[in-house]
Symmetry: D4
Subunit: 209 residues, 8 copies
């Protein structure tokens, strides 16, 4: 397994939520001898600093709640550009998780984080850029409409990521999740609520075929 990981740049992931800094450090110690990339997701600042104190060679990304450790810098494995698109400021942590994962896996990644369906003309201005992407990751909470609209503008695969941001009938992200699965565009597939890591990973795997 390790050989495969080293060659191809598949990362190992540690889901940080609910684990102590010590537990994460323990798992990282075991992994670092065998893996080429280790990604820790969903960690707060306190844990992150404890981990960064122990391993000097990690990058900590506060905006994504994420730590990345790489054995060496990665060669460019992905063929085209991956775009990461989101609307609201609240969706940024998930969008950044997707961005950093895709980047760590050897892709060129572009992003725009402030285009929403209630201001559709701004979105339209980016059409040409979006259409040149290899894969698009579209992150949205609320009514979850952004991936449908973006997918209708391009002939490329869209990975849709619902977020749990919202209140009332947001239902912890089930509403945008269902809306995305129910999209009237067909070049869309969906990952779990808030799963920026999975979206970045899936986009990377697609970008290598």
């Amino acid at each position: 397994d390790h050989n495969r990981s080293l060659r191809k740049g598949f990362p190992e992931v540690i889901f940080g939520q609910g684990k102590t800094a010590d537990q994460i450090i323990g798992i990282m110690e075991r992994m670092k001898s065998q893996e080429s990339i280790v990604i820790v997701t969903r960690i707060d600042e306190t844990k992150a600093h404890r981990i960064a104190d122990r391993f000097k060679d990690v990058e900590y990304h506060a905006d994504a709640g994420m730590i990345i450790w790489k054995k060496t810098d990665f060669p460019l494995l992905g063929k085209g550009v991956i775009w990461v698109i989101s609307a609201g400021t609240s969706d940024i942590p998930v969008a950044r998780e997707a961005f950093l994962t895709a980047q760590a896996m050897g892709n060129r990644v572009e992003s725009i984080f402030d285009v929403g369906v209630s201001g559709i003309h701004r979105l339209m201005d980016h059409r040409a850029e979006f259409d040149k992407a290899s894969v698009l990751i579209v992150v949205a909470g609320m009514e979850g409409a952004l991936p449908s609209v973006v997918a209708g503008m391009v002939g490329r695969p869209v990975i849709a990521v619902p977020t749990s941001i919202g209140y009332g009938v947001s239902l912890g992200g089930l509403t945008p999740l269902f809306a995305m699965l129910n999209s009237c565009s067909s070049n869309i597939a969906v990952v779990n609520i808030d799963n920026g890591f999975g979206a970045g990973y899936m986009a990377s795997v697609i970008n290598r075929i």
Copy 2:
């Protein structure tokens, strides 16, 4: 009550689904002596013909599954134009129910039934027209994104109507309903799934203030 109805053009409604033609005829007989408009919704062709045989002065609208009886032609009670917008062919019966209700209640009504969020540029072409409306009724199934997008294009009140059309996570219309309630536009309020009548009624009441 009857005086109010005659003066103001508030219709009485008979929800036809689950009632026999005889039951509907019985209720209409009682109502016709007291009301100025009677609307029967959700009736199939067979029932409609039985009712039209009994009352020569009704209009039957097959595309909306609806019968309308009016004492006299209505004066124009609504101040501005009500627009009815929908995307898919499957949403047309609900959109037509809204259209005909608003029209029967004394409004000028315009409609467009083939603009969706996966072809956003077509929608943009209508922006100027939409913005001149007094109220907009936007009917959508699937991901329920159309009302959000339209509301973002205008400064007018939008009545959103989810439809039960779809499969899988459409959940009988709950997904577009929740998406509409979760809209990132604020000039939106929502009625029950498939409730074209209610949307037309609410838009009419708004258009009279």
Copy 3:
């Protein structure tokens, strides 16, 4: 966009929940140069004081958990009176959010916050006043019956706002939401759970047509 906002009094809103005081201040700084009204919702006392320290020209409304900043006092844009009605003391913050939003957007607003369906005669006493309203906002938790009852008493549009107050089968407000959507009155449309801001905004847009 900014010009439109200045002319017409459409506010920008910052959903305060889950944002730090610093984040809110940052967003407000950008917005104040471009917008005529900025509304911050769902903020607690501590955050509110931090923001009020920074911007001396904001109003803080503790009962609504809301901060309002206006470039200048607003002209009266709405034609008629908007009524805000609620039953329980627990619904007051949401009702006040609706009240203040409508007022900030240039409307005359009246309110009554202690009439419920289990004491129906008190409600009946207000019938004449309610019927003179241009739009009514009705806020309710529990069984969510108040909007149906009020809508049955008037010929005006009712914006229904479910609240998340309750326990057991309140289901975080889903029960009053569904009850309101299922209303046997037709002059009703509904906004998201606890969305007092949206109700005030929608009522204002209606009151300007």
Copy 4:
């Protein structure tokens, strides 16, 4: 057990839905030798006629979808009057099931089937009568508000019965069920959706204490 039933007038019930006429006849044959009242609920006209052909001494009530067989006429076991109240014509079968069950169990029963919360003044006209009841059964679909309103008008126990009538977010009766359980009146308890039999039975048991 049989002795108890004979003495006290507790009926046996056969839930007719999903059973063939032959199966029902078979069960009735066994029961008739041991019970004093047998009630069959939820049967359509065809089955009812087959059963009435076999047992000449049954009463068939088409409006309630119900057959009642009684060994002899019942003495009056209940102390006061039970009122059965409903709003819509669609709720009548459930309301009649409650009415006939309570009557068969030896109670004086009154009913009114056309008072709803969107016409609250009609309901108010009955306040004095309702307050003299021993127990009230209130049947409602849609938003399920009627039991709350009635319970607020009287100091008597109210048995609330939600019905499955409706569409969209009616959710097969879950919405009125939850609304009733969430009532702001406290003299209410609730039975299963469409369970007119259970409401009539419970009201009878209460009326005998």
Copy 5:
């Protein structure tokens, strides 16, 4: 209204959860001049002591999280004995809330708090006592089977109270709630999850007819 309350012993209730001690004290001050009984539910020890410091004439019941204030001692208004039955230690606070409410409303109340359906023989030992009750309140979490079993043992009305105690598919009490509504016994009606107050109130109203 006040006169009625004084004469008949109907209490006013303050739902304490989510209110500050000061808010509760304010409401109590207004109510004490007009009501004969005021019940505060769902308050923790800290709030309770603050309230008891202010009003020396209240009783605080820590096991039920409840404060009761009565103008004078109550006459016995209920005709028979109300039994309150529960199984697990976790259900005791809800059972006690029902017990104290019924007692405050002028009823003789008996209780047993440790009989469950997995030890059915213990329950059977109490059959004779239960059958002499006027009304029975049965409180249960988990699978919610206790009310069905008790109702099968007696010919008296059973008020079933589901509790939110549990984990996994307890679903915050929805599972016992649905089980109770789905009971194969017919002398049962149900109140909201954890609503001990409502059960005690309803049982009292029944016991006065």
Copy 6:
């Protein structure tokens, strides 16, 4: 795989619902050459007769909607007696499916199909017999309480089978399913709604250890 099946009496199952008689016959033809037992579940009379015409050596059990084909009669593989217990007549088809599956897999099986929790003394009369069982299968719809009560009476493993029989909050069997999973007895495990075959299979596997 085939050898294992022949030696040990593990059946192959064809879920008949939604398959045509021809499809079932086709699958059976392939299986009969390789398997020692083939069980077809959920088939109606018409399909069953078509299949029985084609294969003369099958047994058709109308009460369980089931066809069983066995290469030869089975030796007794199970060590003790398996009891199948259910309450209502509607649960019998599922209970019979469990019974026949367990019997076909080489077990001695006993059953009782008319004991319910609303008549608990009848259940108690069987305690001694139940306690001698090796495994008990308990089938129940409605409130799903029977497995808890039976499991509390014995020290043996209980396989609980919820049925979809019911209406309203039965929720297609979800209510008894959740109630069984939430049981206060610990010697219980649960299979899918209406899965009599699975219960019989699991009980057989247990009875062979």
Copy 7:
């Protein structure tokens, strides 16, 4: 739009369910002049024959409930091989819909329809083949585990398709849908329940990048 479709082989889709043969024929007539591929999904045999009578140049695939019309034979647009994998016979129609869509869009497609997670060794035998795929479409009902297991065996993107086949807690396909979204493999994205067309479309778009 048409030019794009002709050049790139993007099909238009008509969701056949709920439409009459005449409606489908009408839509096809308009589309055939502008599109290069038209796919009709979810049509039964009767409708299919009506359509095939009208248009001699369509292919009807009974096993997928699908009609395909192509202007000309398609060039190979996809770079690698797309694999379509499913387990049960009931999942075949959905798997075939995916297969035929991908094939019509110009891809080499392979399939295997009888490998499931309860016979894991059979699946393992195909590992080498699967790993050479460009994209894999994995179709599963029941517990929805197949995509996770396959994704764990390969370094390629997996499009997971839940099916509505099942009973009880299958919940119309929600259970496999949620299981797939919750996968512990990260090279997975999911489409709507039974959406074979969408999976084939998305896989094709990926295979062209």
Copy 8:
């Protein structure tokens, strides 16, 4: 009852969550005079130390959040070996609860806690061992696929335990629960979410037959 418990090694369980250390100590004091094993589940370190200070003869297992008190060491009551299998580190507390319960009840227990369906070959390596088990307990969160895969590898009964570990559509463990109930393997039965104790208990009862 006590005699039975002493002879057979049935433990009493105290569900520690939501109880104070003092409450648990009180219950243990009563139980210790009558029971042979007392198990306390779901307690944190602080409570555990308070209890261990009071009772010197308890074992505290921090990894399972569990305290076990035994009157004497237990004889081996179970006939074969019980295997406890889980995949993720997050599932270990539940798996350990099952392990320790089964061990305390007099069984030989083996475990492996790091085999998952996304690395299926590792699981296959253990096939021979698993097949020699008497009963297998399989603990899984996420997509809940592990029990299906393991059950397909052995001819032994599998007790499946879903865990609440996860996010998004994990739905607090409902997703793996439903997946397990929906398994295409038939030698599976399921216990409540996170119910390691119940699984260990049920496996023990099976292992004694």
